[in-house]
Assembly symmetry: C2
Homo-oligomer: 340 residues x 2
DNA sequence: TTTAAAAATACAATCGATTGTATTTTGTTT
DNA sequence: AAACAAAATACAATCGATTGTATTTTTAAA
């Protein structure tokens, strides 16, 4: 099976028109007359011409593509954010290269290199939970390319963050439980290496303090917030003297914990009230339905992408050290309704 | 912010070594002495050299990247399949370009063009439900590139399909309900333009016939199987004289239908038993937990990718008109357990 | 018709890496 | 030290499209 790619030179030869004119015609340049444009375009169709974007990108040094790196595309939040990114990119005429870091630092590093060697025009990234060091981003920035962090903030200089106020919402959900009468609240935290989880935990603490409730280290469980972690944490709860509420940093672990607790005769929300985080589809359907925080996922993708395009277009003449904070929404469902 | 990409020519100048030697050194060619290789590599690191893969790909006409097109990455089945594809690709040293067709034919067509102009080495695709015409695939094949369909088969000549036997499993799930004592079974079908749904429906029909149950057109609902469709279909069920079972072609619509029916006092599985399809995470957590079919998602991705790589390597000297059939697994849960 | 201006097209260099061929350097053998 | 093979390196063309400059053709004005 031979490689029968048609090039502008084939068109050029077939019509005896210089390839530069062919190129201009195909790019609808005003320097080519309509008559020749028509001839060239119809010949291009006839031969099944497909522009070689590699060549084009090489020459122009503009790839019209951006890279997106997320921990996992299977997470509802990320796939929605990606949908938002794609919509914006599509309108702007950009291709999107989607990659998963699987929350692995080495992989994230390798992906940043792939981005560089594919000469994307910019990168949108939600960094891996294990990333504590930023050299791979600095390396990338050295090439003069913009990088923008969304959802999971990064304290890298000259970069933009699009996030929600995790402190504020962490405090808010905790206060919601307190209002429902909870006094002994456990907190499921993600890795404290991540700013995001740090902030949520701080918010949790702040809410307790505000309402003169004690903050106890042994009531804070740190984990990767996976399904299995939820079960482990449920067991820990059963071992604690008194628990009447749980503030979880995600839905996944909250639900598996609830499931385990239910199996052990705990009633939710009567005995223990729960709030999660992320509004995974499953949280609406679980019984009891899980109170959670809906992050503006799709919207965040759109905003992050358009900010990145702004930066790409400005070619570095823009103040890029900014943080955009979006508003999440607390969705109150049955898992936290102690009072009616 | 200037573009300070380092090229092999920069290294070449700095060391006064010809760029061809630099290139060979960086590719670890045996034609370059170890001594110069060392010199070149250390200089490359010093300057922060990053290979420009665009140039490389252009020259070699091998991109070492494949395209993946799926309807939506947010669907659990697809994100798992993609994980499998990525794992295999990663091992084979290939980049993966992931795109969503959003089940839109025009978009799919455009994406195939993007694939072509980005000169991918091959494409893995699960076609959009709205695709009935295959010219965009033929156009692609003309360039001598391999295309492989997974999950949703396509009757295109010279192409490989990696699928499950939808007829067989469609029959199997229906028989499962019949064994549980169901006699008046409704079928939620997807668009009959898709071979996949056609086959499942045929399997449904075959099971009824085998057990001498009547097949009634009015017991088959065709829709896009979205959440809202599930609610609509639940309403239709309530309007039917007698229904004691539902065979749904996906979980999403099954669950929203069950939810609506529960709200209307129908007990599941006692009054109506349900089986779904896809094993979405939510189906294990819903109450009652939903009997469903687990497709070998991750595995399917791995197999599809490795078949594609075989074809890429063989450069067309391979019989490619094959169909690989994988075995799905019926997961029996509470939604269909009438007998214990 | 001549001539200048404008429009259309052609020429040629370039993006960065690769690779077949040519040349130089090194090493071995007598 | 000469002669030759082998090893290492240099030269130069190439992938396909783009783009600044030069040239030709067309149009319009004098």
């Amino acid at each position: 099976m031979k490689n029968n790619n048609v090039t502008i030179h084939d068109i050029s030869k077939a019509l005896e028109i210089d390839s530069s004119t062919v190129s201009r015609a195909l790019n609808n340049s005003p320097r080519v007359s309509q008559k020749t444009k028509d001839k060239i375009i119809s010949k291009a169709n006839e031969l099944g011409y497909q522009r070689n974007s590699l060549a084009s990108k090489l020459r122009t040094n503009k790839t019209h593509s951006i890279g997106v790196i997320v921990p996992r595309i299977s997470r509802h939040f990320f796939s929605s954010a990606i949908a938002g990114i794609e919509e914006t990119a599509y309108d702007a005429g950009y291709d999107v290269i989607i990659c998963q870091s699987l929350d692995d630092y080495e992989r994230e590093k390798k992906l940043m290199n792939t981005m560089l060697s594919n000469r994307v025009d910019g990168v949108l990234i939600s960094i891996s939970m294990k990333t504590t060091e930023h050299d791979h981003f600095k390396e990338y920035q050295k090439q003069g390319l913009p990088i923008l962090f969304f959802d999971r903030p990064c304290a890298l200089a000259n970069s933009t963050n699009v996030i929600i106020d995790d402190f504020k919402i962490g405090k808010e959900v905790t206060e919601h439980l307190i209002e429902q009468g909870c006094k002994d609240i456990v907190h499921f935290s993600g890795p404290q290496t991540s700013q995001l989880y740090q902030q949520r935990t701080k918010g949790f603490k702040a809410a307790l303090e505000k309402h003169q409730l004690p903050f106890r280290e042994e009531y804070v469980f740190e984990s990767s917030l996976m399904k299995e972690d939820g079960i482990e944490m449920a067991k820990k709860i059963l071992a604690l003297p008194k628990v009447d509420g749980v503030v979880s940093s995600n839905d996944t672990s909250a639900i598996s914990a609830m499931q385990h607790l239910k199996e052990n005769g705990i009633r939710i929300p009567q005995d223990i009230a729960f709030v999660g985080f992320s509004n995974e589809p499953v949280s609406a359907v679980f019984e009891p339905s899980l109170t959670t925080v809906k992050q503006p996922d799709f919207e965040m993708g759109k905003i992050a992408a358009s900010l990145l395009f702004e930066q790409i277009k400005s070619e570095g003449n823009l103040r890029i050290n900014q943080t955009k904070i979006l508003e999440p929404e607390l969705i109150i469902r049955n898992s936290s309704r102690k009072k009616s």
